[in-house]
Amino acid sequence: MFEARLDQGVLLKKLLEAMKDLVSDANFECSPQALSLQAMDTSHVALVQMTLRSDGFAHFRCDRNISMGMNLGNMSKCLKCAGNDDIITLKAEDTGDSVTFLFESPNQERHSDFELKLMDIDSEQLGIPDTEYSATVKMPSSEFQRIVKDLSTIGDAVLISVTKDGIKFSTSGDIGSANINVRQNTQVDKPEEATVVDLQEPVSLSFALRYLNSFAKASPLSSQVSLRMSKDLPLVVGYRIVDMGEINFYLAPKVDDDEEMDNTNE
């Protein structure tokens, strides 16, 4: 028996919005410690890792570890039927082939249940080592979202360079080139507006903008995003979910002599 009750149901709605365009099907892993998910996008270039700790739920019961395979598009359809103020409860039998979502309005006047069929999903589980990164930048998530969106109108790839003064995003394309610099800035009225650089050594890596745009859909989850980079390692784009856990996106850097992968005539 698995049962988890989340007072702030909107969190789950936002999580699905953040993941559903990147990953079509994934296994939600339930354990006494957490509800978690790890999945690659279809092109195997990006990886998403989400953890919601059991102590962040209003109620959490997990008798034995189970894995619930779901189509994230269908799950998102379902969650769109929940109000933003609704309390959401997930329920699944250990041996069942479905999961139930209960939505309760705050005044208990309306309650809904949605039963979703589970799927068998073959998925490789990857071990993500605890790495020290050369550079970690925390910045407003809305700022990051806007930058990658803006640069996408100019080019396909972005070069991200971190120095002790700040972070620079550069791209170029048919019509010209662009550089956006954001300076370290800790003198702010609200902590969520700060931009903080934590640097071991300067680093400069290139990434496909369309993945970053996809990751940035997680912005509603947190006012700050953290970007972690080391030479020749994947970029980690992380959003903390207060009192609950986090969602991290991993993106392999672009190899320099790589052919543009969107070339295939589709």
Partner: protein
């Protein structure tokens, strides 16, 4: 609630298919891809496609690989066995809708090193065996391929391209209990 509203259903079909690539390792020699001709009757009669075999909808990845091994063994006989498998990976699946069939194509990609380029076989060369031929990626584009085969080819090409910058090479696979 008394049963859901019924919709007209297409027959479901699961097919394991493999983009098999052989490399002779000779300088400048392009990899060759195996195509097999469909029977003269039935769906997409006579068209060329990547080798494929129907599997049950519940088949696991291992089941599919086993069935594909059998098929390749049958198609290529001992030819393939002399080669060293350089790479083999499951690329995921594609759904293709025909008018009456909903076909799920489980695509894998396999690269084999051989000493000399393998031979094609015309229809009728060997009783009961389909015609086969080997083409380069370039020649593939000139073939009159059905749209489902085109999808597979693109899918494999893209997966290969992304392989170079795939995320998997950065992390160790976890073996689940």
């Amino acid at each position: 609630y008394p049963g859901k509203v019924e919709k007209a259903k297409r027959a479901e079909q699961s097919v394991a298919t493999c983009v098999l690539e052989v490399r002779t390792g000779q300088n400048g020699a392009e990899p060759q891809l195996l195509l097999v001709q469909r029977p003269e009757k039935g769906l997409l009669a006579g068209l060329w496609e990547f080798p494929g075999v129907t599997v049950s909808a519940e088949a696991s990845e291992k089941d599919r690989k086993d069935k594909m091994d059998d098929l390749l063994q049958q198609l290529l006989g001992s030819e393939l066995s002399i080669g060293e498998v350089l790479q083999r990976q499951s690329l995921g699946s594609i759904v293709h809708i025909f008018s009456h069939i909903r076909m799920t194509l489980h695509v894998e990609n396999m690269a084999v090193k051989v000493n000399s380029p393998p031979a094609s076989r015309a229809a009728g060369d060997e009783a009961g065996m389909p015609a086969t031929k080997w083409v380069t990626q370039k020649q593939l584009q000139g073939e009159g391929l059905s749209s489902s085969v085109c999808k597979v080819a693109k899918f494999a090409a893209r997966s290969n391209a992304s392989g170079k910058q795939g995320i998997k090479r950065f992390f160790a696979a976890v073996v689940k209990d």
